[in-house]
Chain length 539, copies 2
């Protein structure tokens, strides 16, 4: 494997640890109050693991044993995954040199199919502080059927595992909780521990301040957006329509907006709350473009969260209808079965988008919302609408751009390197304390690393239930952008000025050397959230 | 104007200077041998400025006067433009505090229309070591007509300029040489000096080792490509087709390939030499995909230089015919007028590409080759061809990506910051020595900055003539990738291994702090070229 000089320098990076974790081998769990859940019906589904207390840790002399632990990466890549594994590995070895860590290959199917590799220091070394999930691969298989649960049980018993660590997003952590409950019910000693991963930032609660990878992804996208903004202001000839990866929630778009100050940023949650239609969103952009043009500016930058499409009511309805119709019909027939409003919505779309809706479907046959090129959709709808504006004399030239895959496997920032290394340590600690159905938690993240807090959070406390196919299913609610939250409020205060003033900011590339205020800065949204919480609890 | 912390840190960066330039105020020109030109017919077009000697500089005590200088940015953005201006400004002030620098606004039209701003320390300060051309803007106007030449003369005389510095690519430097000749002929004292700019790297000669901006752009694109490669190897589910900005030449694609080791990289110049057709290029990719699939790999990364399309003979011919036909016909009629081979070529293209060919035309009505989405074209042709391969059982899922505008206005690397600052100094030196029709030259660029050399190169020495509309026109030949050169040779030695082995490298984001071997590394192609030249001349 070849490495760049920077990769080599990063291999040598020693992640910083919270003070408490520096004395890893003498930490013991302290139980708090019993936990509840986010919504009803969860207790019934988790009779054995529901209601466990949140745990914190403190020093206490204590013999440590060698542990046998398995780890799996689940879902899309997020910078820092390798550091969760190295933190877990190093912590287990602090317990005992005889501890064993095995990796399940290519996601949860590695558990059901018992595909493993032993993770040794030598095996791990080239992956420390590096991006990607390629150390053991990842995958999107869900452990759902009774057969899959049985196979998983057989695997963890075959390996005599003390614990299984699941690194994943909301779905994967739900899966972890279900496995914890199931193993316990079967009298299996293997505990199950989750680690909050996703660049999208939608796995979040009072205790989980941010999921790992979000920091690096937002900074990488902001670098690119900052560069485009500067180019835009220099050339003065294009409108850039930049779509941002991030699933439903607009966390990434909001953070990138705060980092770079583009002229316009859609926030999906606001679109939903206001019930704005595609036509209204187009009109907002067209109004902006006309206004800027009369100020002599035929250029600008628009940020579009990939999830926006789901938040436009007419679109949501049309996609739901399409999904149902496509299950039993050819694409052509499916279109004919749409209701009038949905047919109107569909027929009003550019051909390219219509094709994407009908052809790019996921393995379940559903429309892949994330593949819809909304950046091109808005360019077309804006271009059409501008032609109708008699007050507009400007020149509209547009460039689409998509920020996505380049943000999922980059070299993790210092923040994500340190955070993930700590998350791995806490996962090891939860395993040591024989706790099951817990998520690894590290908090106080806007303070210096030494002051970060550590705890274990019962996964069920994040859950509610939804009825699917007539049965209650446990779900960790995706955290959406809070329209009452300080980050969005702050954005609202600024955005009118940004629309016209071109107060563009270049965050520049992530730095790994130099002043800590540059290398270790937390995200702006995280800082604003933490500030407002501190202020609230102080007040 | 808001700035990120990194932007603020970069504002404080003091660019390093070659040793000789550290004694700026005592340098004097030394003339070498008279120069010649790259091709015939140039002397006739430049009777007054042809044959001037290359100049170098050495110490000599000498009174310095205040100079009045104008500067203009011409063409597309390239990181470092602001540092050329700050180098020029600082050098002129070293001559005399009474020196004056004015900027022409928004490109060469700023000269003909006399749109200016005085560049003072205060005005310049926020732009030091920053990306973009927004300090005075840029533009693509060419000074061509007698009226434009007269207007330019009037402007430089009105401002009583001693010199005019033109920062631009091959066309802009040709323009600079024409202005130099014209001003001299008119008895105007204003000298004209060029500075070699373009991220594309195609303005290059024995003396011009690299144009400025190419370093930063290649590193920024390589960061993105490295991230995508790592994601690709982690998820193992996509083929990424990455188009790279860079006009005709494949310099950027070659450098990015050497930096990151993708599975496949087209080099336009090789395509032209071999006379490969679109079908053959598609077959090459399909062969690779089939071979990788039988090795269990349904993923990979392909780099495509944006200029490749011009190098495919059938395509070149079809585009030439289209351009002629479109001049006098509607798009539909134009297609009907194509010759049989060109019609075949056109009709074989995906609809999206056909549309782009017909609709996205430049102000002269020509097809905009750079706007053709070749990354999508190849995805379509590969998908179609794969269906015909009975030996292929794999799954082909592809993602298009375009690296372009985000590389033109980024924070310049240390290399470009230092290089441009030195180029600005040399431009000031050429102005001080009353030399006209010269390009600012800084060499020995893979050595430490202190050892960089400085010189002035007669622009006419880079020229040949081409017959356009029956008349000889002076042209600076675009430097293409040399298929006999060491960089391409080295690439050829590696590429078979890269095709199958996934020896992906993540160069990571540009670093501004830390070890000099990381912050100040020159491009790999530049190092290989310099090494082979040193070896040759030593041998």
């Amino acid at each position: 494997m070849s490495e760049s000089l920077l990769q080599q320098a990063r291999l040598a990076y020693q992640p910083k640890l919270p003070s408490l974790l520096q004395e890893f081998s003498s930490l013991q769990a302290i139980e708090g109050e019993p936990s509840s859940s986010f919504g009803d019906g969860v207790k019934e589904l988790f009779p054995l693991t529901f209601g466990q207390p949140e745990v914190t840790f403190s020093q206490s002399e204590q013999e440590r044993e060698a542990l046998r632990v398995g780890v799996v990466l689940s879902g899309g890549q997020a910078p820092g995954g390798h550091n969760v594994i190295s933190g877990l590995f190093d912590a287990l070895k602090k317990n005992s040199a005889d501890s064993l860590l095995i990796g399940f290959l290519n996601g949860p199917s590695g558990i059901t199919d018992d595909q493993t590799v032993e993770i040794t220091e030598e095996f791990l070394a080239p992956f420390r502080n590096q991006g990607g999930f390629d150390i053991i691969g990842s995958g999107r298989t869900k452990i759902e059927t009774p057969k899959q649960f049985e196979a998983s049980l057989a695997t963890v018993q075959r390996h005599d595992l003390d614990a299984l660590v699941v690194i994943g997003g909301d779905d994967s952590n739900t899966n972890a909780a279900l496995l914890a409950e199931y193993f316990k019910k079967q009298g299996c000693k293997t505990t199950v521990i989750g680690v909050p991963k996703t660049i999208d930032g939608d796995l979040k609660s009072d205790e989980i301040e941010i999921s790992f990878g979000c920091d690096t992804a937002c900074k990488t996208f902001s670098e690119i957006i900052g560069n485009i903004l500067r180019d835009c202001r220099s050339a003065k000839k294009y409108y850039y329509f930049v779509k941002l990866m991030g699933r439903s929630a607009s966390h990434i778009a909001l953070e990138c907006a705060l980092q770079t100050h583009p002229n316009w940023t859609f926030i999906g949650e606001e679109v939903a709350e206001k019930g704005w239609t595609l036509k209204q969103l187009t009109d907002q952009l067209v109004d902006l473009i006309v206004k800027r043009s009369s100020a002599g500016k035929d250029f600008g930058v628009v940020l579009i969260p990939e999830g926006i499409i789901e938040f436009i009511p007419e679109f949501r309805k049309m996609i739901d209808e399409l999904n149902s119709a496509l299950a039993e019909n050819s694409p052509e027939e499916a279109v004919n079965k749409l209701s009038d409003p949905s047919a109107n919505c569909f027929n009003g779309l550019p051909e390219l988008i219509q094709k994407q809706l009908l052809l790019d479907r996921d393995p379940h046959g559903n429309v892949q919302v994330s593949k819809i090129e909304t950046e091109r959709l808005f360019i077309e709808t804006v271009r059409d609408e501008l032609k109708k504006r008699s007050d507009y004399q400007g020149k509209f030239a547009a460039q689409p751009h998509f920020c996505g895959y380049e943000g999922r496997s980059c070299l993790p920032s210092n923040f994500d390197s340190d955070y993930c290394y700590a998350l791995g340590h806490v996962a090891a600690l939860l395993a040591t304390c024989r706790l099951t159905g817990y998520m690894s938690c590290v908090g106080n993240l806007t303070a210096p690393v030494e002051e970060w807090t550590i705890s274990g959070l019962p996964i069920t406390s994040l859950m509610h239930t939804e009825i699917r196919h007539g049965k209650p299913k446990p779900v960790i609610a995706k955290a959406l952008t809070e329209l009452e939250g300080r980050p969005f409020e702050y954005f609202k205060e600024q955005r009118d000025a940004w629309a016209m003033d071109d107060d563009y900011v270049c965050p520049g590339p992530i730095q790994f050397f130099g002043p800590a205020e540059i290398t270790d800065a937390p995200l702006i949204t995280l800082s604003l959230e933490r500030q407002s919480k501190t202020t609230c609890s102080a007040g």
